[in-house]
Symmetry: C2
Subunit: 235 residues, 2 copies
Amino acid sequence: MVAIIGNGNVAFHLFQAFKEKTEVILVNSHTMENFPENPDFVMICVSDDAINAVSKKIPDTKAIIAHTSGCTPMDILNHRGENTGVFYPLQTFSKEAKLNYKEIPVFIEGRNPEVVAKLKKLASLFSDDIREVDSFTRKRLHLSSVIACNFTNALMGIAHDILSESGIDYSVLLPLMKHTIEKLNYLSPKEAQTGPAVRGDSKVIKEHIKLLEDKPEFLNIYSLLTKYIETNNVK
Amino acid sequence: MVAIIGNGNVAFHLFQAFKEKTEVILVNSHTMENFPENPDFVMICVSDDAINAVSKKIPDTKAIIAHTSGCTPMDILNHRGENTGVFYPLQTFSKEAKLNYKEIPVFIEGRNPEVVAKLKKLASLFSDDIREVDSFTRKRLHLSSVIACNFTNALMGIAHDILSESGIDYSVLLPLMKHTIEKLNYLSPKEAQTGPAVRGDSKVIKEHIKLLEDKPEFLNIYSLLTKYIETNNVK
């Protein structure tokens, strides 16, 4: 039995991922009213700020207690003793989105090897990619996923705004974006880089800057990333 | 018969896209030595800076002459008369990459409706998504694709560098990235935004900034995009 504490997107999707594989219950993080009798695992799926408070509200239990945060060290759960660890699924979770849970890498940390083994076994119920990492490495993974995923989505928002001025839906970019990611299965980001900055095509860059003249926020982002590619990616 | 002038990635892939559908030949842009007798179309697939010079070297022909650049206006070909236009495939082209040509949107512009119709018909040989746009709109499309595709690839390069310090291959991020793009088929970028910046999770952001203290270039990019999401995307 897995008790998932939380009301957000991670709790929702972990519940979906587990529900056909094992007994699982969603527990309200504020009231804890439906906390089960003897769970085997308690997964804390709340915002980083709330992990400590929630971990103190969990009733006495022999279960393994794990949080699911990329950025919070394992030792935040030390006050709950030896049966504690981390279960970090690396994915972006929106309730509206359908996920292929098999593909989600899960990063495990545990206070002792027994906890690690049990959390790995739990992860194997849905994931094909399970790894053990320490808290510091997990933080780097989290930072990388923010830079890769959250920032890419923000760039798509900027593209959306620029295209909507011409009445074009941003979805026209989705085949390009799909391929941009697919390429990285067999080319490194350095090898895969294309565009005016890596070509040193200053004429095109000037044209783009002109288009962004009245959008200082976009222009700052354009200039900084263009400079980054020019400096680091010249072929 | 389609004559494709150019030695780069666009020339290579247009040749691949056409070769099973129609007669096509690759022409060396420097020598023009293998320019065919009576082509129906001449596609100029060279860097923006070279379009003008190449267009002057093309032998007299009744063919439709089109360039393939996102950022160059159609009128650069005015000196070749009425039978001129633009054939802009919106995709990132690396020679090593396999492409699904059907999915590539092609944006057409022509000096007159007859040229537009002929270029559209040509595009339909491989693409399922053909649209007519003017030079200004095409420039916006090109800018958007640079922001979306080239910059995302640069962000993946940064994630690559951060992860390699922990001995982790950046490929661990690819399921996340695949899903980040897939989500945009049914959520707008604003709806799809996740992460500490949109949640207002300043504790996590501080941790990330600490990790980037000795990498000022990454830190600048992190700070600027985080601020952009905080300002524009608050839910």
